[in-house]
Amino acid sequence: MFEYYDGSLGNEIQVTIDGKNVTVAPGSSILEAAQQVGIEIPTLCYLKGLTPTGACGMCAVKVEGEEVLQRACAIKCVDGMVITTNSDEIQAYREERMTEILEKHPNDCLTCQKTGGHCRLQEVSHLFDINPKERHVPNRGLDDSSPAMIRDMDKCIACRRCITVCEEVQKIGIYEYVNEDGDRYVRTKKNVKLTDTSCINCGQCVKVCPVAALSEKDGIQKALAALNAKDTVVVWQMAPAIQNTLGEEFGFPAGTDVTGKIAAAMKRLGGYAYTTDFSADVTIMEEGTEFIDRVQNGGVLPMMTSCCPGWVKYMEYNYPDQLSHLSSCKSPQQMFGALVKNFLPEKIGVDPSSIYHISIMPCVAKKYECNREEMHSENGLRDVDLVLTTREFGKLLKLRGIDLETIEPEEFDDFMGCGTGAGRIFGTTGGVMEAALRTVAHVLSNGEINTIDYEVARGYKNVKEAELTIGDLTVKVAIVNGIANAKAIMDDVRAGKSPYQFIEVMACPGGCLNGGGAPLGEPKKIAERMEKMYESDANNKLRFSHDNPQVQELYKTYLEHPCGHVSHELLHTSYVDRSAEVK
């Protein structure tokens, strides 16, 4: 997904589009060539970098010498090709296709989840003046079995983006395409509910769905209800990635650090504003200690990170015999939740049961994670009550008339509001590993090694490897992004020939910055987000998780020491064999 053309494929070729001469790299499609010179061709199903399906037909163009119209997304440029992108014939064809789609699409844009900026159909349909008199909504029903996402197949326009992403990017492949006598749509394989598939809730399909056929389970109304309730205290946390991506929903350049503005926005909505950067630091303390313990006392190796709920679920479905490799630490979100319900109430003087804890995540799987059975405290309170995705939170702010652009930055609240640079980079692939290495090396060398930048952990490569020497110990680590790349590594682990001691996996390509709940972004945008995130890390005075004063205070007054008794109660969890759940 992150690979660019480097000019190695051969000579460039010349084509003519609407009278303009264009020089393109070999292998470019007509659509890409047109985009290169700023000619707009409407598309509904095209996704940059993935195999085109040609399903929507909106990109039809005329290629001289060809009798029928061609799909610009699927046809590769040939030297000397002459292409017309706009004529009456093309317009009529596009209109016909759009009419066909709109006739079957329910017209409930008023409160549709993707309305107002997230619906590709709204953008493209606007180019035509089509108002079908009669609509024949297919009535395929709603699948809301999953706690993370909703499938409303009435809205499906059969663009097949979800199939492409699930199969090509994530290599899980739960969807299939159906064409029953011209009635085209997408369903799950074997036509079962989402909870009966091996879906890990990564949400990449939700992100690319051009309409609201796939959407995250709506949390906005619950959030509004909690904010409106007079006797409820709302406590917010937001993932590291939010701070470098939410700005995009408000027109900031990709990656802009809007931490202070979000803190102010949270307070204006009502409640206590905190950042998950804090519990990311706690995670490093716990996970780092666990790793050192496993290395020194002959525990199960390689140890694997457990921050990503999609990855955890993938393990539970596909490698249930290898669950002991997963760190027993809860994810930063759940750790934060557990601390909010147990540690914070006494500090701020409120009753734990009156706290409603909302977390903002760039992730759809987190909605599932917070609903996992084991994720509650001894007193029966859920660690996290509600998860909102980045997109949902942006929408919530807009609904409440809060503009991120004009709001003045504020500080987070006390006790759990401090995060280090190490906590921040949890949002990008390699970040958890880098943050862990900073602290682990410091601890193992008794404070002598204080390396900050581990360049080997950075970048987009699908699998990154590194070998580090800390004192007399050699640690071999692997960093995986994109769940598709985890299979080979896991097969090695299962066969007992894995050379690694520590493996980090993030299910989404690029990490949480490109999570299923994050704003849609092209590879270039993701790269910018990543760059800015490392910048935010570098601008932070605190670069080591163990230097976080509030974390130090937490251990001194409450948890005593990492992986101690209280930690085990609150911050660690267990996993379940789910292989039998898949139908």
């Binding site: 844009c109 309305t115 709204q122 409106n228």
Partner: protein
Amino acid sequence: MINLEINGKAIQAMPGTTILQAAQAAGIDIPFFCRDDRINTRNCMEYGDCKMCSCKVEGVDGLVTACNNEVEEGMKVWTESEQITKARREILWRMLSKHPLDCVNCKKLGNCKLQTYCVRYDVKDPEYRVAYEHRPIDDSMDTFYTEFDKCILCGKCVRVCRELVGVEAIKMVQRGFDNKVIPTSKTVLSESSCVECGNCSSICPVGAIVPKYFKPYRAWEATGVDTVCLGCGLNCSMDVRVKDGQVMDVLPEEGSDSCNLLCKKGKFTFWRPENRVLKPMALSEASSYEEVTYEAATEKIKAEYDKVKEKIGPKDIVGVVGYGITVEEKEKFQEFMNAIFRTYNIVTLDNNESAFTPLPCEEDKNIDVIESRCMNCMVRCKAEENVTVPFRKVQKAIRVNYEKPELTHILSDSEALKKGKVIVSIGEVDKTDFPKKAFTVMITSHLPLQEQAADVVFPGCLETEKEGTVLSINKETKTVRRCVPNPEDVSDLAELLDSLKKSILE
């Protein structure tokens, strides 16, 4: 200062502020449709029609509207609760009962207040539908259309038209379920007194009054640029909506002079990229314009220059500065005129006080100057059409004793210009009265309406394609920001003048 509590938060407010204003100042968002802060007469403060801003004040039975109730000492206000949500839902249901649910085709999608509040209060479908008389789309105007089926009767358009613009082209008639907005002519808008200022479309919270965009776009696809209009000397602030390097729409912005209004020029016409001059043109022997190259056009000027430079003095050469010109460009033009023609004989169109003479008011002697400057602009635009002027009181007086105000145009009047033998003009000159025999060079983005006004025409930039500063008629310096890139082959005025100077003096 008055102390009160809103949503449990202690707030201080000046006496006389409304609950809504106090909440807004504290960053608490209370929904509303019909409130408009600009219409600040006592009468309109009490408008309180949509009831969307209903809040709970402790100790008061029922709900009170926040927009027209003033803050009181010790008041405890709650802006959101179950009771309030229920009330607001009722309002939304009532509005939806007569609203066509055709959002996918609606031009307002994504920027619609009704939609935002429906999402906010979880109103998915109308609870009930009411049969209503469908009204055809009024397409009679060139610049915008009305689709009053979508109207939610907030009344803002009517009030802005009447109170601020002073035109009263639309009005509200009937009551209850028959309540509706209609043109005062009772037929179509074009037959009413509408001056196409478009302020009603800028204020409409739904898709009932919509500009005719020259290219379809969705609200979220565009980004805004804050700049000022260069259409006249008032330089109203505006928010230019840009998508893919093209201006899609212009919205009025809160500014010192403009009180958040625009006239037809600013809103619809002045920035339009249609019928642009994109290539240099010269008047051919058959008295029609033909496209020529930059070199050929320059050559033509040079030939004329060589021919006349011995025979005429500085007074025979006149520079004209039209609209849409920044201070920097004006300076550059002065420099150019001096370098080539050794003259400072320059006439300017903007900042010309005489164009803004206040209208006399016979009936009410107390009003001798119409204070709001933007209104003057409106008057100026309308004067030829014999319509009317702002403010209801003044309007009444004028209606009784209407005389076409003297709005002399400097160009036709200027003695200097009449004597001119060579005329060089920059910027938009909307009414050209150049002497016929003079050799005229124009740098403009649009051809003047009067044919054959110029011998040589160079393409100029639109107001949205330049940056710099401008001095408004109120002697206030304002910033002009670039919104879109120049079209191909059209260079900035400064560059063009430099290259002209170079090739003429060679």
